[in-house]
């Protein structure tokens, strides 16, 4: 108890030292935590984008026939593929139409149009930003879903009036029913294959059908071979070309590498904090050594000397930690919100391990900084006080 009192006198007696130590630790811990938060959020964002644009591991794109009949051929190939890949697989038929035109508020807009079965979203889990996704049921008015870029570029949103057409016919009146994040950088419109069957048939000349399918261990060449055999049996002569679509694994590996280099910078910062604290502690070395010698002359035992410094340094380190952890948590929330929220990404959880590590580093370095005077005081004879 008396020891804590003496130690507290030291804490209060050197306000600048105490404040600087607290500040160093505060900066160090918040630094490493915020680097962690920012890089973690970026990682989550990149991984999310890769998942939305490329699908999960492994996703394969099948391209092949063109023309009005190609949709029917794609549907058959898809059913076959799904059968051989088993229940773990998911697939969707998609199509593009070179002549597709989208109009919003009476003006034709430049956009990619993807015709797809609504089940496409089971492969690529687009977060819904507004409204709903494409409906499996027939609707009175053709429903379109646009991506975030489209919504932003053309000031459109769920409920906006639109139209979709090709070259051959008048455009079908349509309504935008939802906005999704699909990770794409270009304005994109999604329309249901079933609901646009007439449009696609009439404009069949520029139609290209495709299949997107995913299964945990599908290989592009394997599925391509099986589909060729299937085509020979069926005698429909369609050759499907398979390419791997997912990029999530490579992206994640790259981001993880970048992230660890960022984190090592953060840890270096923490190390700099350690030196700062030790330095601040050592700057009073002579004065503290002298004080401890005086205490020894006035009756303090040998044991009391390191104990005083130990308790004192830990009071400072814990006070600094008590400031640093909530401060870094606040900053962390701010960063996670700023970087992550616009992408619909939930940030990684607050890195308690780093916070605890930071406080531990503070405790150890404060100890080192304050044990030096204790060590010196124990080595110098008490009588040295007389020659001071």
């Amino acid at each position: 108890m008396q020891l804590v009192r003496i130690a507290l006198q030291g804490v209060v007696g050197f306000p600048l030292r105490t404040a600087l130590s607290c500040l160093s630790l505060l900066v160090g811990v918040t630094g490493v935590v915020s680097v962690y938060a920012a890089s973690g959020t970026v990682e989550a964002t990149v991984v999310q984008d890769a998942l939305l644009t490329g699908g999960p591991v492994a996703t394969v794109d099948l391209t092949g026939p063109s023309g009005a009949a190609s949709l029917e051929q794609a549907a058959r190939a898809r059913r076959f593929a799904e059968r051989i890949l088993g229940p773990g697989s998911r697939s969707a038929v998609t199509a593009s139409l070179e002549s597709a035109r989208v109009t919003v508020a009476g003006r034709q807009q430049d956009a990619d149009v993807v015709f797809a079965e609504p089940r496409l979203r089971r492969i690529r889990p687009f977060p819904l930003l507004q409204g709903t996704w494409l409906s499996e049921e027939p609707q009175l008015v053709l429903g379109l879903v646009v991506n975030r870029v489209f919504a932003a570029d053309y000031a459109a949103g769920a409920g906006s009036e639109a139209a979709l057409g090709g070259t051959a016919l008048d455009a079908d009146p349509a309504r935008i029913v939802g906005v999704v994040d699909d990770g794409a950088q270009a304005p994109t419109v999604y329309a249901s294959l079933a609901e646009t069957a007439d449009l696609l048939r009439v404009n069949g000349a520029t139609l290209h059908a495709g299949i997107e399918l995913t299964a945990p261990d599908v290989s592009a060449s394997g599925i391509q071979d099986r589909l060729r055999q299937f085509a020979e049996q069926q005698d429909d002569g369609v050759l499907w070309k398979a390419t791997r679509r997912d990029t999530i694994a490579q992206q994640a590996a790259e981001v993880t590498a970048t992230r660890s280099s960022f984190l090592s910078v953060g840890v270096l910062g923490l190390l700099a904090t350690a030196f700062a604290i030790a330095n601040v502690g050592l700057s009073a070395l002579r004065e503290r050594t002298n004080e401890l010698s005086i205490r020894r002359a006035l009756g303090a035992s040998r044991r009391a000397v390191p104990l005083i410094m130990l308790v004192e340094s830990q009071i400072i380190a814990l006070a600094a930690g008590a400031l640093a952890v909530p401060a870094s948590a606040l900053l962390y929330l701010l960063i996670a919100k700023t970087f992550g929220a616009p992408y619909g990404v939930s940030p990684p959880p607050y890195p308690w391990a780093f916070a605890v590590l930071g406080v531990l580093v503070g405790m150890v370095t404060a100890l080192v900084g304050s044990l030096a005077p204790a060590w010196r005081a124990l080595r110098t004879p008490i009588a040295a006080v007389m020659r001071e």
Partner: protein, 241 residues
Amino acid sequence: MAEPLVVVRAARKSLPHGPVLLDHVDLDIDPGEAVAIVGRSGSCKSTLLAALGLMDTFDAGSYRFAGTDVARMPAHALDATRGARIGFVFQRFSLIPHLSVVENVLVPLRHARARDRRGGRARAMECLSSVGLGDAARRLPRHLSGGEQQRVAIARALVRRPRLLLADEPTGSLDVETGARVVDLLLELVRAQSTALVVVTHDREVAASMDRTLALRSGTLTPMAPPLPSAHDREVPACSS
């Protein structure tokens, strides 16, 4: 008659592999007695004082303090005895700069056992008042004059009512007049609580105001001639030179 407070016999002290600092030192100090030790700079006065104050040990000979053979005391007992029975006043005051005046006076009590700490603050204030610094309790040492700081050091030395007070050139950092007042105060206070006093000094007047004076020469203590009446007691007209 009871044993003197300090009994040193044939004490010797040398540096490891070095010169002999003290040799054949014999010294008796009775309780309440005031002794001056004089000697040239470098004559090992501080070294002797450190050994008397249990901050250091003699290499040979014997030292009995308050009836106990110091050589047989374990380290923690030396620390405890030094804290409880011996007070120190140093030439350069040696106050702890970041502690207030009253906290400085309390330092010896902070390192004492709980039972000895009771009533410590009141005792510290009493000591401060007795050196005329009752009003300065909350100030920091650096805001006091040299004479005031040395009075704080005296209050600190007396706070645990020691049996022996050791002062190493207590006036060495003070001007003559302030020094004289500090020594008068010191004498008055030790006499009031019958504490023995050993003062190391270069100042003949300070030496003359003690009960007896010993000279440290070539590492040995020798009594000086019985003190002459000190200058201001002499019935001669003040010298104009």
